[in-house]
């Protein structure tokens, strides 16, 4: 009878699981089945063993039938519920069942820097010709826990991500592969040091060139939080997982304009989950993941040991693939891996021996492949691509430019620099030598002539740039259309500082949108900056033909894009152009508010990457001026999220080449871009009165359950937290920018 009891308990568990995912017992007569089970439990000893066994078998068949029907028609929201179910496996289950043994690093259980982030040094085993081979890996991932509150549902705090970065560096030092596991609904959105956005940006920046193979596996990939452990050489995803730009609830609140505290309609959330294309199949078709790991019906649970065996095989195979791509001698083993890949039921032990140690050249190849992988992502999800003929012409143009700039700045300027350095050395040596020779004579002469006053040292000739003030004379100035109203406005700080009302033509004209009493900056349109920041007629826009489209066919989004195009006369939320500031040429990428609130999608990402490449090719400094950004464009789903690593990769390669990348925030800058390609800049500044952060007030309130002070996202708070390096007045933007261009940046700028 003990067996029957176990079968009953298991059945009960399966029915509870179905009820949880369906959010009720109305579907498939689950209520009746549950009632039947309760009856069996209640009258357990009234049945004869055979009779009970037969009855249980009937219910088992019925449940199995229901599970199969359910699996066939799983919706996106039901997948989300599967992922969030406490019965689903977690990282701890993977560590215990997939790896041979492991040692948790940086804390255990609740005694931890951040219990939602687990790091472990683990061994993984494979058999080759009856020989057991164990290989070391660093396992890093989010831990949701099975109901433990201290795990915070896998929502890691900034210091948790910092811990992950610390151990990524350890893996790099030891030369062992990293296996990332994403089980996060998103990062915990707080700005306390090291800051949610800042830390994700740091992780991404480090991951772009981390010199070990990286595999990531996604179960729950919640936007930026997942990206902190997401940039990898091979991206796997569980068949019942989800990977999304925003939680379906968050997306529904934005799309349905639901006010805070109001209940979200279930239908709207479900529709949003469908529209966002968050399932494994969707992501595979979009190219944001490389392979799907098949789970059992309705998702794997913590006791699906067959699934864990398959997972071990899949992560070994993925690591092998990544390593083999870097090897020169690989033909047979690559064929073997490929052959197994072709077999759908390939869940069997791998029998090939592949060392995961990489030599210097192999690491170089690994990084180059990683770069190419991310640069090629989401290249089909924007419009305005050049025709084949034009593409050929662009390639030719690029090749010629490459030769020209290499000749001009590497060869000629390199030679010139070498010569200068040699002359400097010779002259320095000569002067010291001459000084030593002439010193006795000079001293004797000084003694005889008795000149008490010391010879005044010759002022060192310091070469300074031309006086910036001299070049400030400019002709016509841009007058904001906001200034065409005859009325006054009140400064928001009037209560605090007693600011007087400001007459709009004065405010938006002569005062440049700045309160004369307290210095508060009123928002100004991006055209003002185009006119006032750069030298007259120096702006040359490029890649303006690249346009934002609706790659996911999100309902109603086409008309919104059309309206924005008509309003702005532009194709995307980013403008990229060559410009000049007081004689210094630079490349500028500008995110502006009028087009989809400055959100970043595939077109914007591609334009930014091309701007980085252009700046690298031409040895120009790169400025990213963020007039406003609302984050990643949710209507592009994970094609938008992927812009975070993609653009960070471009920034890293630009900076490694010796450039200068500066970011200046204005108005409102939030979310994904701040947590990636903006936040990774070593030089970040803010225009006064702007707001910078990871998540807005409402999201923080809803996620953390705590309110935040009104100045939480202010530029001053960002400066205090060390996020930015300074706050600039709008009226001094040009001078400060010139000063920064002169004093900051790498060795490879054309004017150095």
């Amino acid at each position: 009878m003990e067996d029957q009891r176990k079968r009953l308990l298991k059945l009960e568990e399966r029915i509870t699981y179905l009820v949880h995912i369906k959010e009720g017992s109305e579907w498939g007569n689950l209520a009746a089945l549950a009632e039947k089970l309760a009856h069996f439990k209640h009258s357990f000893y009234d049945f004869a063993e055979e009779e009970l066994s037969e009855e249980i078998r009937k219910v088992e068949d019925a449940v199995a039938f229901l599970e199969e029907r359910f699996e066939e028609h799983l919706t996106a929201m039901e997948r989300v519920r599967i992922v969030r179910c406490p019965q689903r496996f977690t990282l701890r289950d993977i560590l215990e069942n997939v790896y041979e043994d492991f040692t948790e690093l940086g804390g255990e259980e609740d005694v931890n820097v951040d219990p939602s982030m687990v790091v472990a040094k683990a061994n993984i085993m494979r058999r080759v010709k009856n020989k057991v081979i164990t290989q070391q890996v660093m396992v890093i991932g989010h831990e949701k826990g099975h109901g433990e509150e201290f795990r915070n549902g896998g929502s890691s705090k900034p210091w948790g991500n910092e811990k992950a970065l610390r151990y990524m560096a350890v893996a790099e030092t030891e030369g062992i592969p990293i296996h990332f596991y994403n089980f996060t609904p998103g990062a915990f959105p707080i700005e306390d040091y090291p800051g949610a956005a800042q830390q994700i940006a740091r992780n991404l920046y480090a991951l772009t060139k981390l010199r070990v193979p990286i595999i990531s596996v996604i179960s729950e990939g919640g936007s930026g939080g997942a990206e902190a452990l997401g940039l990898s050489d091979f991206r796997l995803m569980f068949s019942h997982g989800y990977y999304s730009v925003i939680s379906p609830e968050g997306g529904a609140a934005i799309e349905g304009k639901i006010r805070e505290g109001e209940k979200l309609p279930k239908e709207l959330v479900a529709a949003c989950a469908e529209n966002l294309r968050i399932t494994a199949e969707d992501n595979l078709s979009q190219g944001t993941i490389d392979r799907i790991i098949q789970e059992p019906i309705l998702g794997a649970r913590r006791d699906d040991f067959g699934f864990f065996r398959q997972l071990r095989y899949e992560v070994i195979r993925a690591t092998d693939e990544v390593v083999l791509k870097t090897k020169s001698l690989r033909a047979f083993r690559a064929y073997e891996v490929k052959r197994r890949k072709a077999a759908a039921e390939a869940a069997e032990e791998p029998h090939i021996d592949i060392s995961w140690d990489l030599h210097r050249d192999e690491i170089k190849r690994l990084l180059s492949l990683r770069s190419r992988k991310y640069r090629d992502m989401a290249t089909n999800s924007f419009g305005g691509k050049a025709s084949p003929a034009m593409a050929l012409w662009h390639r030719l143009e690029k090749a010629v430019s490459h030769v020209y700039y290499s000749f001009r700045y590497d060869l000629l300027k390199g030679q010139q620099k070498q010569m200068q350095k040699m002359f400097q050395d010779v002259s320095g040596e000569g002067s010291v030598f001459l000084q030593r020779l002439s010193r006795p004579i000079t001293e004797a002469y000084d003694f005889i002539s008795r000149k008490p006053e010391a010879k005044a040292g010759k002022a060192t000739a310091v070469r300074v740039g031309a006086n910036p003030e001299e070049r400030l004379e400019r002709g016509d100035t841009y007058m904001s259309p906001l200034a065409n109203e005859d009325r006054t406005v009140t400064c928001p700080n009037a209560e605090k500082f007693g600011c007087r009302d400001l007459w709009v033509p004065d405010l938006y004209g002569e005062f440049c949108g700045v309160c004369q009493t307290c210095g508060h900056h009123f928002p100004l349109e991006y055209e003002w900056y185009l006119k006032h920041l750069f030298d007259p007629d120096s702006i040359r826009e490029f890649n303006s033909e690249i346009r934002s489209v609706n790659p996911l066919q999100y309902k109603g989004f086409d008309s919104r894009l059309k309206a924005d195009r008509a309003k702005t006369g532009r194709n995307s939320a980013m403008i990229t152009f060559d410009a000049r500031v007081m004689g210094v040429d630079l490349v500028v990428a500008m995110l502006y508010s009028d087009f989809r609130n400055g959100t970043v999608g595939s077109a914007e990402g591609e334009k930014f990457v091309r701007a980085c490449d252009r700046a690298r090719l031409r040895r120009r400094p790169l400025l990213c001026y963020v007039h406003t950004t609302g984050g990643i464009r949710i209507h592009e789903g994970t094609l938008g999220v992927i812009q975070m690593p993609k653009c960070t990769m471009a920034v890293r390669e630009y900076l490694d080449s010796g450039g200068l990348y500066m970011v200046v925030y204005d108005n409102n800058s939030y979310a994904g871009p701040v947590a990636s390609f903006l936040g990774c800049s070593p030089y970040q500044f803010a225009i006064r009165s702007c707001r910078i952060g990871f998540a807005g007030q409402r999201v923080i309130r809803e996620t953390t359950g705590q309110d935040i002070p009104p100045d939480y996202h202010s530029a001053k708070s960002a400066l205090r937290r060390g996020h930015i390096q300074g706050i600039w007045d709008r009226r001094e933007f040009r001078q400060n920018l010139y000063k920064a261009l002169m004093t900051m940046g790498g060795r490879n700028l054309y004017y150095r």
Binding site: E485, R487, T488, V489, T490, D501, W503, D707, P709, P710
Partner: protein
Amino acid sequence: MNQDIDFDAILSKYRSDPFDYVHIHTRHTGRVRFKVTEGAQVKGAGGEWHHLPGSLLFVLYRERNPKPIYSSTFGEVSALRRELEGNFVEANEKVMTIKHPLTKREIIESILRKVLSNFNAPERAKYFFAMDIQARIDKFGPRAVTIQPGDEVFTMSLMKRDIPVYYSGEPGIIHSIYFKPGISVGHGEPLIGVCPPGRLPFIQKIISRVKAEWE
């Protein structure tokens, strides 16, 4: 000593009229549009940082700039000058009064302010009690410590320099301490409230009466 303060009179004043009257004036010239009616209940600024504005009282229009004026305290709108609705008013014109019901704490604070003699911070700095005063406070409690004019009562810590501060004022016991050691206090803010020993029983009596009698 207690003859010069008529506690009954003070108490009966608060009992007969337990309200504070906050008069609302226009900050500048403009046209007034009221958003409340006579007798309406209004609330003051809320939230942990007082960042949520109180009830909207009226809007003052000048140069096509509508300026909303919010209530700074909770209470009831009274003496609303309805005749000004839509009219141009001069600056500093009284437009309404908020009748604010005083809380028990506000009444006690208000009475103490009248009957205690406060010693104010001479500069913006961090303050600490002098060593012997602190030792006596720790041992017997503040109300057992008597201070005289000329006594070294505080140490003012300013820019890592410690300067003794001598008490000047009425001799008496330390009744209320308004500062926390090590936390900066602004210039002119009260540090302690001192009470002559003879007056202490009356003060305690009045506090306990307020606590007992007020709802």
